[in-house]
Amino acid sequence: MSESTQIPLQPSRIAPRPLELFIAFSLISVSGFGGVLYWSRRMMVDERKWMTAEEFNEAYALCNFLPGPNIVNFSVVFGRQAGGTVGALVALLGLLGPPFLLVTLLGLLYTYYGDIAALQRVLAGVAAAAAGLTISTGLKMAGPLFRQRPGLAHVVAIAAFVAVGILRWPIYWVLGVLIPCGIASAWWMRR
């Protein structure tokens, strides 16, 4: 995280109604292939002007901070700001509803037709490409780390990678050790 400048909290330019929230998050959801951050910024900041770029960054920082699916958290945080509990529920439903239906339909088709040889070959190709895309996402995320002086952050990242990805240890044990150690050292280094 870079330093966050203090932005005075402004009221949203236009307060969305529940139906508008639902539609906006449905659109974000169905336009985002392999990640929806780009589309949510475009919808919230550029098109609907419901948030300034700074407000978006703040909300996104929060959602990165929380565990779990980032964009799902974002829909709840923004939905609540815009329309309370109803807003949060409506935004969440808008985000998850359409892909849920779509992917369940695909799951159904996979159950019935997954054994067809041609489909298996297509999926083998797509799966290989999807794996490649995940590798490049990981490399891009690690970019800022590569540019830093080697330090504890590198040790933590490599430890998480090796323990979970290579040794295949349960994530609970690994994070149960790494999170407290990481926080303690970050706290100590701060001074």
């Binding site: 966050s4 990640g35 849920f100 799951g107 797509v126 290989a128 999807a130 895309l133 990481g182």
Partner: protein, 177 residues
């Protein structure tokens, strides 16, 4: 019947717990999903897991929908619903309440320290996910080559991944993979 309810409870408890460890998003939790679904519970084969990840990647929507597919595969529509709700519920509740106090908390030194610790962990976990998925998808030498080429191209060039998925699908259909 009891068995079905048992499976649903397993899905619910498992994904609810896992969601709290998904630091950096749903994809960070993939290795653990693979461990449970393939190695511990034997719900699916390595190849089926790679297939589900592929289907989730080409379906528009957040990455978390791979959980919906796993749930569907294990216990049909109820499984899909239960797995999705369990993976999103706990963190949504966190988001709902923490969003409120975030303005006071965001500049606190404790937040900076926590975030400084979490960022490298999330990077390591995404790397781990990539390793697990790449291994599951490497059904042949050519499949492994497609993975490597996709990684190189998408890392260096700004290109819509859908084109690469389409190309890889054609390569597969042609029987080269």
């Amino acid at each position: 019947m009891n068995n079905e309810i048992g499976t649903l409870l397993t899905l619910a408890g498992y994904f609810a717990l896992l969601s709290l460890f998904a630091i950096g998003g749903a994809n960070a939790a993939l290795p653990e999903m693979h461990r449970l679904a393939v190695e511990v519970m034997h719900w699916m084969s390595d190849r089926e897991f790679a297939d589900m990840y592929a289907i989730a990647q080409v379906t528009p929507g957040p990455n978390v929908i791979v959980v919906t597919l796993i749930g569907y595969h294990v216990a049909g529509l109820p499984g899909a619903l239960v797995a999705t709700l369990a993976m999103c519920g706990p963190t949504c509740i966190c988001a709902f309440f923490i969003g409120h106090v975030w303005d006071r908390f965001k500049d606190a030194p404790s937040r900076t320290a926590i975030q400084a610790a979490l960022v490298p962990i999330s990077i390591g976990l995404i790397g781990a996910s990539a390793a697990v998925i790449a291994r599951a998808a490497a059904q042949s030498w050519l499949a492994a080559a497609v993975t490597v080429v996709t990684a190189l191209v998408t890392f260096t060039v700004r290109v819509n991944p859908l084109w690469i998925f389409a190309g890889a699908a054609l390569l597969g259909l042609g029987g080269w993979i």
